[in-house]
Each structure stands twice: as structure tokens, then as C-alpha cells.
């Protein structure tokens, strides 16, 4: 009973802290702008099954992608064991899911095997970060904090897996000395226990209990560390993929408020129609965190800073300042500062800083070729180019700020109907003296 009470209290604290953090993060969503209506559920489920559960985009880098996929699939299995632990902890039952029979055997066996596979993968990930120079993990946006965060998260996962394996060994040991029957099958545990001959039943019992508590407390700690970490993607990736933009990558979202204005300009009749209700004009494009859409912000929370986007960015590859990963991380960092200020003082609050310039420079924005390599590469369907173009929209339409050559291009389009300074009269010159051979 004491065990149950202690467990219930820890669980309550875990949920309490977790919901406090999440509520804070969620409350910032109300400052963001609309993106797109969420419909096409069939399509969304398909995308989620292939991109999230099938890990199809992470396999764009097949070798390291495989290790990530194994970790992901491992988590999907191991979570059943974790749920069981919570039920056992609360009710005092012992391996309650064994009522599932053969399914339970499969779950436990694959969980046991996956624990080892995940542990090995995590060791590979950690050594890549600690002992090898991987270009993708570097960059101006990768501060010391980002590296520490990555290493803490990975170490936590490693400890989770080690404690799970210890738990299974402990359990097997107790049962073996007792009556030999076990609930569930534990192939890796069975193998590892041979290295521990002659341990007494008490010792195994002790290992089991200690590992059990260790594992569940690590889960509680991990869950509450995540929202403050880039590894928040453990929670956010699957919903982020479900909420993916379903349009072709080449499509930019239309600005309907501009359409209204342009139609007024082109059709003088509508100018005398009923005047629009007096609403304060909305800022064109994105200058600060609250101008971004809820999807942009969701993207930023789901980003795990893997750097696949930046590693394929033509601008970044050739030494320009732009890094798509930085753009997403900057939005998250800015909202972390501006969000609480807006909660306190309202959405219009101005702290004399902004996402544009204080975080993301014009030089970065103008280096983008909108080639969509970043968005194509992102394993969880983050879309960087639409945010970059939205920030260009702010620069051009609110500040009339753009590189001189682009302003000249705008003028040419306006005056000659072409981005270059040629006359419409010359549009058919290409067709002069065109001949076809007669065969």
C-alpha cells in the first residue's frame, strides 16, 4: 500500500508539472495567426502512417535513418510496458497486461529486444555527437546549450533502456528461483542473466524493485524534461506530421487580405460599394513571433534540430548565412520570450525587439532560393520556405525594403509587364523566321 501511495503522489506531481508547462506553451498559440483549415482526415492519417510511423522521410538517409527508425519503433512497443507499470504502480497489481496472453508475450519479447537495440542506437548517436565531427550538428545556431541538451536527452534514453533491461533480468531471476514460470518472454534478459550466476532470489528481487523504480521515475523525469528540450519532438512530431501542410511544396499560401485590396484597385466600382467595417489593418507578412501562423509555431516546437534541412540548403552549403534550422529555432526562441510578455500585456505589446532583425537578419532571408530542399528533407514535415517568404512579405510590403535589384525587377514588372527591361512589343521576336524542315 505504501508503494501505491508513493507511486500515486509521484505520478500526480509528474502530471502536475507537465500540464503546467504545456499550458504555458499552449497559451502562446492564441497569439498566432490562422494557417489552414484542418480537413482531409483520410489524407492526414495516411501521411501520419507513412511519414511518422513508417519513418519514410528519415530513411532519406538510410543508414543513420534506420537507427532512428529502430528507436522510434522501439518506443512504440516499449510504451505498452510503461503503461502497464503505471497501472501496476497504482493498483498494486503485478504485470497486469498478462491477461492479453500471447499478445503479451509478443509485446514483452519485442520490448525486451528493442530495449537492447535502442540502447545500442543511442550509444551510436551519442558517440557521433561526442567523438566524431558531424557537420550537420554544427552551425551558428548550435550553441553549447543545444549540444548539452542533445547529450542529456540521449543519456536519459540510454538510462531508460538500461533500467528496463535490468528490470527484465531481475524479474527473470526472481521467477527462475521461485517456480520458473514467467509472464511474458524476455529473450535478451534470458541471455544476459547467464552472466549473473549464483545470485540469490533476494538479490534478484532487489534488482527488480530498484530497476522498476528507476525506470518509471526516469520516465517521469524525461516527460518533464522534454518540454524544455529540443527533444520535445518525442511528443510533437506525430501531431506535427498529422497537421502537415498538404499542398504541393511549390505552393505558397495566398494572402486573402491582399486579394481584397487588389480587387478594389482593379475594379473601381467596388470602391464605392459599402465601406468595410473599421478593423485595424493586419500587418502584412511576418515581423515577429505573433505574426507567424500556429503551424509555424507548431513546427518550431516539433523541431529536434537534426539539421537535415540546413545540410541540403544550397545557400548554406555555399557559405551564405541562411540556415533553415536557425529560422525555425529562432521562432521558437522568440516566442519563448515574447509569449509570456503577451500573456501579461496583450498581443499588441511591443518590447522593442522582433523576430526580424533581432533574431533573423535580412541577409538570411534574401539568400533563400525557395528550392524546398529543406522542407523535402525534414523528417517531420516542417515547412521553412513559407515562413521565409512571409518574412520577405513583411519587408517588401510594410517596409518597402528589398535588395535594389529586386526593386528594379518589381518596377520592370509594373511598367513593362516583364521582370526585365524589355518592351512588350518585342515579345514575339523569338518567332521570327521560324522554319520547319519538310521530310
Amino acid at each position: 500500500m505504501t508503494k501505491q501511495i508513493i507511486f500515486a503522489i509521484t505520478l500526480l506531481i509528474t502530471f502536475g508539472v507537465f500540464f503546467y508547462t504545456i499550458r504555458r506553451i499552449v497559451s502562446f498559440f492564441k497569439f498566432t495567426r490562422p494557417a489552414f483549415p484542418i480537413k482531409d482526415f483520410g489524407k492526414r492519417i495516411n501521411v501520419m502512417l507513412s511519414v511518422a510511423f513508417g519513418q519514410t522521410k528519415i530513411f532519406r538517409r538510410p543508414v543513420i535513418g534506420l537507427f532512428h527508425a529502430l528507436v522510434f519503433w522501439g518506443f512504440c512497443i516499449i510504451i505498452f510496458g510503461s503503461i502497464e507499470m503505471v497501472i501496476d504502480g497504482l493498483t498494486g497489481s503485478d504485470k497486469v497486461l498478462k491477461i492479453l496472453g500471447p499478445v503479451y508475450n509478443i509485446l514483452m519479447a519485442s520490448g525486451d529486444i528493442f530495449a537492447l537495440i535502442v540502447a545500442v542506437s543511442i550509444i551510436i548517436f551519442l558517440s557521433r555527437r561526442l567523438f566524431f565531427h558531424i557537420k550537420r550538428f554544427e552551425g551558428i545556431e548550435m550553441k553549447k546549450r543545444s549540444h548539452t541538451d542533445a547529450n542529456i536527452s540521449l543519456s536519459l534514453i540510454l538510462l531508460l533502456m538500461l533500467s528496463l533491461m535490468a528490470m527484465n533480468i531481475g524479474y527473470l531471476g526472481c521467477q527462475r528461483i521461485a517456480d520458473g514460470s514467467t509472464s511474458g518472454i524476455y529473450p535478451v534478459g534470458r541471455l544476459l542473466i547467464t552472466f549473473l550466476p549464483g545470485l540469490s532470489a533476494d538479490k534478484f528481487k532487489y534488482i527488480y524493485e530498484a530497476a522498476w523504480w528507476c525506470h518509471i521515475l526516469l520516465i517521469f523525469l524525461f516527460a518533464n524534461y522534454l518540454p524544455y528540450s529540443k527533444h520535445f519532438h518525442v511528443f510533437m512530431s506525430i501531431p506535427n506530421v498529422f497537421l502537415s501542410r498538404l499542398d504541393p511544396l511549390g505552393k505558397l499560401p495566398n494572402m486573402d487580405n491582399i486579394t481584397k485590396e487588389v480587387k478594389l484597385m482593379l475594379d473601381p466600382d467596388t470602391a464605392f460599394a459599402a465601406p468595410a467595417a473599421e478593423v485595424p489593418p493586419e500587418r502584412f507578412g511576418v515581423k515577429d513571433a505573433e505574426d507567424a501562423s500556429w503551424k509555424n509555431y507548431f513546427d518550431s516546437l516539433a523541431c529536434t534540430e537534426c539539421g537535415r534541412c540546413t545540410s541540403v540548403c544550397p545557400a548554406n552549403i555555399t557559405g551564405k548565412k541562411l540556415s533553415p534550422r536557425k529560422v525555425i529555432m529562432d521562432l521558437r526562441a522568440r516566442m519563448k520570450v515574447k509569449g509570456p510578455l503577451m500573456v501579461k500585456n496583450g498581443r499588441d505589446f511591443n518590447d522593442n525587439h522582433s523576430l526580424l532583425r533581432d533574431y533573423i537578419s535580412e541577409e538570411e532571408l534574401w539568400a533563400c532560393t525557395t528550392c524546398n530542399a529543406c522542407a523535402k528533407e525534414c523528417p517531420i514535415n516542417i515547412n521553412h520556405p513559407t515562413l521565409i517568404v512571409d518574412m520577405r512579405r513583411y519587408l517588401v510590403m510594410e517596409e518597402a525594403s528589398a535588395p535594389g535589384e529586386l526593386k528594379a525587377m518589381f518596377n520592370n514588372i509594373e511598367n513593362n509587364g516583364a521582370p526585365w527591361q524589355y518592351s512588350a512589343e518585342d515579345r514575339l521576336l523569338w518567332a521570327k523566321d521560324l522554319e520547319l524542315k519538310i521530310h
Partner: protein, 264 residues
Amino acid sequence: METRKIEIPLMADLFAKGEKPEYLFWVGCAGAFDDRYKKVVRAFAKILTHLKISFAVLGKEEICNGDPARRAGNEMLYQMQALQVIEIFKMYEIKKILTICPHCFNIFKNEYPDLGGNYVVVNYLQFLNSHIEDGSLKIDSASLDNISVTYHDPCYLGRANDIYDEPRNILRKITGNLVEMNRNKSYSLCCGAGGAQMFKEAEKGEKEVYMERTEDALKTGAKIIATACPFCMTMLTDGLKYKNKELEIRNLDIAELIAQSIDL
């Protein structure tokens, strides 16, 4: 060999006669004004004539559809252009649009519908490929004598619209020696001109994007770099010039390769 003169039909002329062509052939600003790309448009127009396709161009009535303005953030200018273009299309009751330029293709296909402009938009590679597949366009497969060709995927055909197979199908009909760059299809590297970069100097960096991409192409050892976009054409041709390879290695558009191979 005998030749006959081709008159490119104008939408306004046909309309005055009460005729409605099946396709509007959207030439695009690069096709109209860029001396190098005019040759590509000429090649494609010859193919259209050869196939006896019912088409017309807007000629002097064509205006920029607003793509570079939009990518550079000038949504206002884009929409002004777009709504004017949509009016012109409405006037001529245009239903099907053929484009060469991938940027024009993308904007008509994906972005004009938001402004009420709904058309069947066909890129010339899809068009050519379907005519090769149905046998109406016969290609002399020995025409290139197995010269090695590599294909550079334009971002706005590839990643933006998932057109990867059509150009490769076509090129395999022309040569038995199609070689891929390391970065190809959805992994393809941009030429550096997208997103209105075509109209400005690049930001400060260590290297030009088009040099990086030209090096990708050179590594394949291909004698011909096939492209399918006016901006990619400019960038890669520049790359070849900087590498002093413009005499050894040719940068040709797929339309030109087809026109050559059927000797139009």
C-alpha cells in the same frame, strides 16, 4: 532539304476568326526575351507544329504572371499581375495551358486557383512524354549516338511538383547513356536562381550555388547537361563558362534535344 515557314498562331487572330485553339502556349518572359532561351521556345514551337497541335500564343498580350514578385515577397504586385492574367485568359476562354518554364507552370497550376483561375496546366515535359508514349512523337533513338547526358532537376518541377520520371523517360529514348548526378531527383541541388535570386546578386558566401551544381554535373563526365528551366539554363551555362568547359560540354534543353533528334 526543303523547309516551310512556320507562322506562330496568335490568340487574338484566332479568336477574331471565331477559332479556339486547344492549348494556350505560355511562352514566358525568359522565352520571349532571353536570347538563349528563345532558341528553346523555337525548338518547342517546331515540335508543336510538327505534331499539328492546335495552339496559340498571346504574343504582345502576354505579361509576367507575377512569380518572381511573389517569391520576393511582393504579394501585392503578384496579385495585380495574376488578376490581369486571369482576365486575359477569361477573355479568350482559355482552358488548357502549356508551359515550358517550371516557375510559370507551378504558379498557374498551384497558385492561380486561389485567385479563381482554374486551368488544366501541362508542363512541356509531361506533354512531350505523353506524345512519345502514345507513339505520335517518334524519336530516332540513335540520334545522339549514345552520348552521355545528365539531367538537372529544376526545383519547381521536381520537389515542387514531383515531376521526375517524364524527363528521364524522354532522355532514355534519346540516348542509352543517361547518367545521374550524385544529388538527383528529390535530392537535387538548386541551380541558385530560384526564389527571385535570378534577378539579384547572391548574398555573401564562399561560393556561387551554380558553381557547386556545375561541379556535380561535371563529375558525371556527361557531355550534355540537359535542363528544363530557363533559369537553370542560365546558371549552368554560366557555370560551364567559369569552368572553361563550354566548348566541351553542352547545356541543352530537352526540347532542343528532341527537335535535334527528329531533325526538325
